[in-house]
């Protein structure tokens, strides 16, 4: 399953990178006379409501999905690791404050807080990344806090302390690395979560704004054409589901390797 996941992710990465080279059409070029036309040899995935090539738009959309995923996971994991290790290593009041903030943010179900934040900040790609990172870091912080609590009692950490190493050095050189494998797993699964969340927000009209092609906005546009052009819905959804499945396969496989108890 890891290999399947890795293959899906790599193919998507390559497709997103190669982008325009894979499709002779510009994603913004309109051919209104042929709008909503189904798949054909010249347009393998058909044309959308404005006669734009769906394949070309999917390739550009892949860039956006991956970019949002990488940005959200990058920001969330960095902030989460920082606060989680501080809370776990230092304990006491610092831990209390950080843990209460985590509790409050975790009290919001799913992407509700992200919806609320984008609703008030205004729909844009930057605000989507910001909103998803605001809810995303808490998962990493909780994970790393647990690891740091355990790590600070380990002999090599106590030895470093006895040798006079400063707190910053201990946290960054000794405590954080013990959490890396678990963070890697969380980050892989987090990519899937971020891609779905971005597409959800765009689908609700709160994410990437037209004419920029995003898989979520393409699905949203397809909703009005369920009867006459279902291909507008089928292909963007298939792209999202496949990429998310790829990251889930990869994350599940990595978790089995990091924590053999999880392997069944």
């Amino acid at each position: 399953m890891v290999r399947v996941g890795l293959a899906i992710v790599l193919v998507t990465l390559l497709a997103a990178a190669a982008g325009p080279a894979l499709s002779p059409f510009d994603p913004a070029d309109q051919d209104l006379a042929r709008r909503l036309e189904g798949p054909s040899l010249s347009h393998p995935l058909g044309l959308d409501e404005l006669g734009r090539d769906i394949l070309a738009r999917l390739l550009v959309g892949a860039r956006i999905s991956l970019m949002v995923g990488i940005a959200v996971v990058g920001v969330s994991s960095t902030v989460g690791m920082l606060f989680g290790s501080i809370a776990g290593y230092f304990g006491g009041r610092v831990d209390d404050v950080i843990s209460r903030v985590i509790d409050v943010l975790m009290a919001f179900p799913g992407i509700l807080l992200a919806i609320a934040l984008v609703a008030v900040l205004g729909p844009s790609l930057t605000n989507v990344v910001l909103a998803l990172s605001v809810i995303g870091w808490v998962g990493y912080a909780r994970l790393v806090r647990g690891q740091a609590l355990r790590a600070r009692e380990l002999e090599f950490v106590q030895a470093a302390r006895a040798l006079g190493a400063g707190s910053r050095r201990i946290v960054f050189r000794h405590v954080l690395p013990t959490a890396f494998p678990a963070v890697m797993v969380q980050a892989t699964l987090g990519m899937a979560g971020a891609i779905i969340a971005e597409a959800s927000l765009s689908f609700l009209g709160l994410g990437v704004q037209p004419p920029t092609p995003s898989w979520g906005t393409m699905l949203d546009a397809g909703r009005s054409h369920l009867f006459d052009a279902p291909h507008l819905t089928i292909f963007p959804g298939l792209a999202i589901a496949t990429l998310v499945l790829g990251f889930n396969f990869l994350g599940d496989g990595l978790r089995d390797r990091v924590d053999p108890k999880m392997a069944r």
């Binding site: 509790d103 609320a116 779905i196 597409a199 609700l204 909703r223 279902p230 819905t233 298939l238 069944r264």
Partner: protein, 306 residues
Amino acid sequence: MGRYLVRRLLLTVPVLLGVATLVFALIHLVPGDPAQSMLGEGASQEEVLNLRHALGLDRPLLVQYRSFLSGVAQGDLGTSFRYNTPVTRQIREKLPNTIELALAAMLLAILFAIPLGILAAVYRGTAVDHAAMTLALAGISMPNFWLGPLLAILFAVRLGWLPVAGTGSIWHLVLPAVTLGAALSAILARMTRASLLEELRELYVLAARARGLSGARAVVRHAFRNSLIPIVTIIGLQFGAVLTGTIITETIFAWPGLGRLLIQAINYRDYPLVQGCILFISVTYVAMNLLTDLTYGFLDPRIRYD
């Protein structure tokens, strides 16, 4: 148990206060003037000032905060800008539809996932197990905003068996409930399998088999019963995901519930209604998690706060 209950309830208070504070802060995160944003660029200065006054935005921040909290404590979530009615009334009107949809989705998920999880655990490592778990992973990976339209294309557009949107009969409920329940079903199937596998390794199951009980009887009468605690917990904890899922599902199927109300409120920049919906959904989620924790503590006496 009494001490556990009190401690757990006390721990919920700061969380609820934090949630209310964040929801209060939302309107102040609006870039520029929230009143201007709600009325649009064409509004006159007087209209903006009037709305600022009506929303209480012209008062000092601390006074606004105190007034917001005291309103929330009394069940007053303000007045909807679009409907000019209390936010609580709007929520009360839409809530039954959302509860109906959420319960139907959870029921469908449970009915499908638990037998699937049991089959996967009993036939562990076989083609049945692989097929069931691949199906479950596909369920988790398939976003509901894709599954919903796909089901609509197949069952409403192509086959014409079910209505594509709206309410009115039990048939209107089928597609939204399946769409909303699919992810939960996938998570539950995986959890049932994992939990049952743990129990099947226990000696008492072996002892039951040694006493002559059939495999099926040992699974259903002994192992499955003991594996129920984590399954029940997951069902409780996933209620939040189902609640959030209603936002998209209701939007797809034009289901007149709380989720659709929230999206409409966002589109109309009806910030008091947005705040009310977000607060209501979050508090319900916190309450459900509390209830799940308490049930868990009650079912398993080993779970206690020290």
